[in-house]
Amino acid sequence: MRGQARKESLSDSRDLDGSYDQLTGNPPRPTKKALKQRFLKLLPCCGPQALPSVSENSVEDEFELSTVCHRPEGLDQLQEQTKFTRKELQVLYRGFKNECPSGIVNEENFKQIYSQFFPQGDSSTYATFLFNAFDTNHDGSVSFEDFVAGLSVILRGTIDDRLNWAFNLYDLNKDGFITKEEMLDIMKSIYDMMGKYTYPALREEAPREHVESFFQKMDRNKDGVVTIEEFIESCQKDENIMRSMQLFDNVI
């Protein structure tokens, strides 16, 4: 009953005395499990290349030792790795940290942030695809390094880099080919973002037709898949796409 929980917390509070370095020291008498968890949990926060996965299993603990804590690399290293200036990185990090104080974004968070920009439609599917594109090491979370690396390509990369990135986004299973099914998923997710109230009213076949026209444009050898070379080649020939790629130069 409640009394038992209270007793437990009393004993905990007695443990948490100020007689040792509370963040890095070993507490005197907790259970082995709590000790190990606490120690392991502190480790990720020390190093720059932190792995956030360790503290996830401690959720069952009554202490709830998890807030996964991830710290990005230093500003200088990020400056070298990306094409952003120092100030731009600062701005980006502040915004990032504001929404994700723990230092990483998981898929739910990502979807929720992205959905705030599209109040009328359902942007969750497209956000999932974006998440998979940003999460380059496929560990289920986007850290600030991933985030900034992706943005660096999109906003500061060459047109070819950007096209590469877009291809990577479309290629859902990352096998180097865009099939019609993958493209259909992407197209549907884009159309989903429009929501229900559109003019003219969205029909069921609109994404499929759009996919057909896309494939007609991109698929040179008509083999039903679009490879990266076909994609880049077709895009380079298309003035609209080239021009719209240049839109990204001034986003930040």
């Binding site: 926060c45 202490f63 990032f96 159309y191 109230y197």
Partner: protein, 636 residues
Amino acid sequence: MAAGVAAWLPFARAAAIGWMPVANCPMPLAPADKNKRQDELIILNVSGRRFQTWRTTLERYPDTLLGSTEKEFFFNEDTKEYFFDRDPEVFRCVLNFYRTGKLHYPRYECISAYDDELAFYGILPEIIGDCCYEEYKDRKRENAERLMDDNDSENNQESLPSLSFRQTMWRAFENPHTSTLALVFYYVTGFFIAVSVITNVVETVPCGTVPGNKELPCGERYAVAFFCLDTACVMIFTVEYLLRLFAAPSRYRFIRSVMSIIDVVAIMPYYIGLVMTNNEDVSGAFVTLRVFRVFRIFKFSRHSQGLRILGYTLKSCASELGFLLFSLTMAIIIFATVMFYAEKGSSASKFTSIPASFWYTIVTMTTLGYGDMVPKTIAGKIFGSICSLSGVLVIALPVPVIVSNFSRIYHQNQRADKRRAQKKARLARIRVAKTGSSNAYLHSKRNGLLNEALELTGSPEDEHLTKTTSLIESQHHHLLHCLEKTTNHEFIDEQMFEQNCMESSMQNYPSTRSPSLSSHPGLTTSCCSRRSKKTTHLPNSNLPATRLRSMQELSTIHIQGSEQPSLTTSRSSLNLKADDGLRPNCKGSQITTAIISIPTPPALTPEGESRPPPSSPGSTTNIPPIGSNIVKVSAL
């Protein structure tokens, strides 16, 4: 759009890279970022309040934000300060932690706000000093309960569809507010329970005399009437019980539950009575069985939440009650023994045995004091007074625990009800915010069109109608506009959508996606032109009429034939003619809409960008692949 997410707007705009290669039309221009972003120039301190401390103080805990190099991200070169856009009140506690080594939890602070701040600064809540730890844990538990409650009620609402008949019936029984039928049933059963209980009570009241000078209870005087009433009530209860039994998801568990036992016990005496009316011996037992009819009053507990809480309290205070009982028993036995031996000497004493003294002890300890047994010896009186004094103490101790448990559970229930009531208001607020944001976009679109049209017609004095939007707003709207262009559909609000649906169903247009030109002589649209809702003085006034026609997709292209014969749509000539046709079109008062796949803003603003000329050669290459979406253009 929440202000906090504005910082992610560059990311959202960058994410639009996924739309670019699939879009068939070029994207609109981005709003110009005239002034350099001021973010980097924010003053660096905690929301204006400057805190000062030694660097070594902060470096005591190197795996927090302030103690590591992470704070360099918040450094401002100009003012040489670290700026944090966070709550200065909580920051005070955080900084004190670095100074004294103890983290405190201020009682006035909201628990989730405090947790957020701690997470931001990379500090684990577990190191809260034990002076504040209890409070923190209690508040955290309450918060967790609240969140669970929210989730539960969300899940409950989501599970509405696809319930079988049996499940709906069960839900109706358990929660009478789900449907009117359930409510009716609820009140009917409540009424019959009351009737039955009153009947049982009134049955025993003596009413009137019979010539034999014997007072008859009403039950025997109006036996038939009471029997009918009883029968009716039992019918209702039986039907209710059977229905519940049928609807219960787990019949075995239902049969074992307390309420069903009460139900059974309430109606069994009647049936037993029916069976055994004639047998003389058993009728004595039958009379006592009628006592169980009073259990019907417990059926009220389904109708009253307070009763249920009382029952639940008693159950949850079982240990306290047990302790009370045990200590009372101990005291009774002790005092009864003492009293018995003390009164043994006096003559004609009522304390004939120790069990007989139990009655005296109980009556005295509970301060009843009937007075049917009183001690007569001096020793007896002394011990008797000690008994009554200690009785007060022993009984008074466990009672407040039970009372406080009851009040805690009761208040929890009240809070849950209040939260449910507030939830509606909260959801309504969220909905309003969402529609507000989408309406802002639609509104600015209308204003944007208005601006362009006004610029076209060259009436600069009307520019005061323009609404200035912040840079963030305009960037967000640009993003939504790009999405529109990618999918070739427009955002509209709900009423327009309904209108369109009605109109389209009335119009009965051909379903082919490529209506022939001949049926629409006067129409010109481009795949990317925007519809204007203002029909008054906008030059595109012919456009609203088009909505009534068979326009299914923006990508269908009609070329206005009659007015601009120069816009022959042979593809080869489109390049040249488009350019020539553009400029005079722009200046003219009658705007035929833009040429294929050139967005209206650049086309109609001649001061424009370098876009129109380069786009037209590109646009022609777009046409062939789009294929069936587009009207077959033919030379006129």
